[in-house]
């Protein structure tokens, strides 16, 4: 399991925006993951989607890493931001865009 922890740690620290999800951004396999993909695509931020269904250790490991029981999980600059409900609330309040911009991450899409 320590190998999984290191894999996750490396992914969230070497990529500005990482979404651990079920399926891929091109083909989400869960409605909650799909909602976050739509939000990230809408605001036009570059992100890396990682499919937890591809690896059972990863699927459990990401829950242990953040002490968060559900998927999807969004990370910005190595920091856990939230799951589907929190990402949607932040987006609707305009806070997701401002959080990204405050971290120096380009938001290219529609302005809130």
């Amino acid at each position: 399991m320590s190998g999984i922890h290191e894999f996750i740690d490396n992914e969230v620290k070497t990529n500005d925006v990482v979404l651990f999800m079920k399926g891929t951004p091109q083909f989400p396999q869960c409605g909650f993951s799909g909602q976050v993909v739509q939000i990230l695509d809408y605001i036009g931020v570059d992100y890396k989607g990682i499919n937890v269904l591809a690896d059972a250790d990863l699927r459990q490991g990401i829950k242990d890493y953040s002490n968060w029981p559900t998927i999807p999980q969004l990370y910005v600059k190595g920091e856990f931001v939230g799951g589907c409900d929190i990402v949607r609330e932040m987006f609707q309040a305009g806070e997701l865009q401002s959080h990204l911009e405050a971290q120096g991450i380009a938001v290219k899409g529609a302005v809130a």
Partner: protein, 93 residues
């Protein structure tokens, strides 16, 4: 007692909510996996307004609820959507 009732009881005891709704949305997810008919209690939504959440961040509110319901999540509750609010904050229900 159904899982929905159990969770409702635990939330009332822990947070003394002003408003609370625990909704079974499992039927809305029927067919999203082979062999899953949506007939059980796998996908729940918690809507809760409590003064316990005043001053807490979004993540902290979710963590408080997730921690309380850890036994249910470990026992196979597949999806838990959470809409927490403190009194006076906007709600959509």
């Amino acid at each position: 007692m159904s899982l929905t009732d159990t969770i409702e009881k635990k939330l009332i005891e822990a947070f003394h909510p002003e408003r609370l709704a625990v909704i079974n949305e499992s039927h809305m997810h029927a067919g999203h996996q082979p062999g899953f008919d949506g007939g059980g209690e796998t996908h729940l939504r918690v809507r809760i307004v409590s003064s316990a959440f005043t001053g807490m961040s979004r993540v902290a509110r979710h963590r408080a609820i997730n921690d309380l319901l850890k036994p249910e999540l470990d026992a196979g509750l597949h999806a838990l959507a959470v809409e927490p609010a403190a009194p006076g904050e906007p709600t959509r229900w």
